[in-house]
Each structure stands twice: as C-alpha cells, then as structure tokens.
Symmetry: C2
Subunit: 227 residues, 2 copies
DNA sequence: TCAAAAGTGTTTTGTGTACACCCATGC
DNA sequence: GCATGGGTGTACACAAAACACTTTTGA
C-alpha cells in the first residue's frame, strides 16, 4: 500500500513530486483531564526537546501506519495511564508549518475525561504528572492553544451531553457533581437551580444510599445512567 | 527540515522506524456549500478512481509540505472555484486506515459557504458541479460521512454565529434569509417568530431599500453587519 | 380583482435566575 | 449547641411558540 500512487487531482499537486507528501508526519495529542480537590487537572509530561527546556507538553505520539486516529489516541492513553476504558473525543487538528521544531507534524487533538481518585494511574514515566489547568501559563509547541481549544469545547458540551460523569467516581453526591461543573465552567452555581436543571436531564439515578464519612449531613448518592 | 529526527517519546514509537511515519499522506476535503432555488447544494467532482466508478466526491487535495491546513483548504477553494474571499471552517479529521483505496491518507474536513448566484464560479474542471444536498445518497471514500458531519456542525452553528449570510447576496430580504434557514435546518419556520428572533441578534442593518422585480409586494432589503 | 407575499402583536408556555429557611449529622 | 452542608419552593424576567388579519404590489 505505501507505494501505490495517490491520484488526487489538482493542478497544484501535479507539480510536486510524491516524496513531498510523505514528509508530513501525523500525530495525536491528548488533553487528559481529571478532577481532584475541586480543581480540573491535566496530565502533562516534561518536554525533552532542547527548544522547550523546562516546558511541559501534552501527551501525544505519532500515528502508526496501521492505526486509526482514534486508535492512536487510545494507545497513548493506555500507554501513559494504563487505562483503556476512558472517554475520548476528537476536537480539532492543528497543522501549522512550524508548530513542531523537528519537522512537519500535523496533529489531531483529543480530550479525555477520567476520575483521578478511582483510577490509580500507572504512569509510565516519572515526568508525567497532573497540573491544575488554571495555573498553566505556557506549554511546549502549540500545546497551550490545543489545551485552550479543548477546554472551550468541553465547556460547550458539558451541559449538552452526560460526559462529566467520567470525572467522578461511580457513586457521587449532587454537591460533588456541582463542584465539578463549577471547576469546569469557572463560575459559581446556585444550588437549587443546579439541582432542578440537572434532574430534568435524566442522566442519573438515585442509588437510595447516603454519603458516609462526611463531617456534616450526608447527601444522597447517585449513579450515571447507562448511555 | 524533512530529515530532522522526530523525537516524540513513547515505547511504541521507538519500536517502529522512521520511514513508517512518513507513509501517511495528509489531505484536506472541502464541503463547499451554496444556496440556490430554496435548496442547499454542495460542489462535487466525479471521482476518477476505478473503485468509485461513477461516484462523486468532495473537492480535496493533498497538503503540501509548505502549507498550513487552512492554507491548503483555501487553495483548493481558489483552484476549484476561483474564489478567495470565502468563509471556511475546520470541522473534523478523518483518519481510518482504509478510507482511501490508494494508500493511507488522513484528511481534515472543512466547510465553506458561498453565494452561488453572485459568484459566477470559474470551475476548473467540467466534472465539477453543484448537487442538491438532500438528494445525495452515496459518495466516494468516506465523503458521505464527512458531508453529514459538516452539515451537522453547520446546523449547530447557524443560529449561534452570523455565518449564514455567506450564502446570500449582499442585499437580501427577510424572506430569502428565512428560506435559507429552512433549507439548512430542514424545517418550516413561523415568519413572525423568525423575524423577532433574528432582529434581536443585531446581525443585520436595514438598507432602507426595497426589493424590485418581485411579482408581489416588495420587502425591505438588509445587509449583514461588519463582523 | 386576484394572487402572493409583506408586515405586524398578543397570549401562552417554558426556562433561567434570584433568593431564604429549616433539617440532619458529626464533632 | 454549633458548624457544615442537605434539601426544598416561589416570584420574576425573558425567550419560544402558537396563531390571523390587513396591506402592498404586479399581473
């Protein structure tokens, strides 16, 4: 397959030779988000490129010749966190010519949501660690832009579809749920209005259980409905 | 630059050799949409691949080594339509292994909106022509899926941002505008409610002119506000 | 005078938002 | 008994939807 001739038609393409087209590498970058201590966090790795001395970057990798984009993202996630049952969604591709200092790489960004506490990660490298999203000022490559784009998409979707539950343990209280929303949206929410609104969505089921080990009146526990 | 070593870290990547990564080609595909006769249309070309005998496909091309993704899309648009002042937006990337029969191609889809009547296109190939979106059952490659994805995105955005005006001439009536919305959304809209809603958005200015050459009472003409 | 579309308002219904009090529990 | 958060309802503002008649023009 690699040596088959590509026959996409265009005046421009005919002028160039085939070799040019295979000088673009394809990668995926994963914005792996977790929630802990009322903060949204993202998994980053210390960049090993000199140009980015000291800067962190997203987790990503080149896409292999035998991989779909989604498959490659799952592989990155699995390799770096040990998890394979994780929510993953494609957001956008970034292909500026000079975005990678070592060569031409077009990357497709995904975001991923997981519960930091429940999944004790098997982090494959020591340099991989969680960082509070709000504290991140600068990342290697164009990864700050990628992060911001993914966060924007997440904020747009979080009230539309039941994705937020990926950040929570399987049993959670309404307070916990509201705190995750507040962390993502960056605003405080009225408790009564929040409860009304979220209950209308039919995303959760009352487990008829109560919180334990809380230093105050325990709240009801819920689970997310099957999707 | 093409011969610089890529140093993305991962156990998986270290196992493969560099050549593998440059066996993926990168393309863009443009869903070029226009509006005419109360119908939404898309610009298609007859596929020249044997495998897709007779099927149409979207307009696309490989991305050159010196082009951003956006630049490549603008080039495709310019080459195929002669237009360069056209709305263009990235939607999503498609990278399934077998999506292109001649080799591995990862493509990024864009949609584009233009006014068929005002821009008399200089179509570069005779095989390029407009097709009513609703009549399209099948396209070459995964282009039907790409088309559907772009249409879905368009429907989500059309009430959020003033993009629809790209489909209309610079002067238009509220009836024309409503008809475009109806064509895109595939539903009928109440005229009074539509007018109220659209006027609240502050997207248009009353030109203090009237339609001419209509076989009925002429309506007011509007123009889109500067963005 | 007829056909075709322009233009216009009111009522109802639902949703978003602001806001305050009593209750259950652990310490 | 005190601190902490759980749980609840009402009033107002605004947006969405349903709905019909008169007016203007060209043919």
């Amino acid at each position: 397959m690699p040596n088959t001739t590509l026959t996409l038609k265009s005046a421009a393409s005919e002028k160039r030779n085939r070799q040019d087209y295979f000088n673009i590498a394809v990668s995926v970058d994963c914005v792996i988000l977790g929630y802990e201590n009322k903060e949204l966090k993202v998994l980053l790795i210390e960049s090993d490129l000199e140009e980015f001395n000291g800067l962190n970057s997203l987790l990503g990798d080149l896409v292999g010749p035998d991989e779909d984009l989604d498959t490659a993202s799952y592989r990155v996630l699995k390799d770096r966190t040990g998890l394979d049952d994780v929510y993953l969604e494609q957001v956008q591709s970034f292909g500026n010519i000079n975005r990678h200092p070592s060569g031409r790489v077009v990357t497709t960004a995904y975001y991923s949501l997981l519960d930091i506490r429940n999944h004790r990660l098997q982090l494959s490298h020591n340099e991989v660690s969680w960082h509070t999203v709000n504290d991140i000022k600068k990342l290697a490559f164009d990864h700050k832009e990628i992060l911001d784009t993914c966060l924007k998409r997440l904020r747009e979707q979080v009230m539309e579809r039941p994705i937020i539950f990926n950040l929570l343990p399987s049993k959670f209280s309404l307070r916990e749920l509201q705190e995750v929303y507040e962390a993502i949206l960056g605003v405080g929410l009225d408790r009564r209005n929040f409860r009304k609104k979220i209950m209308l969505k039919d995303w959760m089921t009352d487990l008829k259980e109560m919180e334990t080990d809380v230093p105050h009146r325990p709240g009801k526990l819920y689970k997310v409905n099957a999707l």
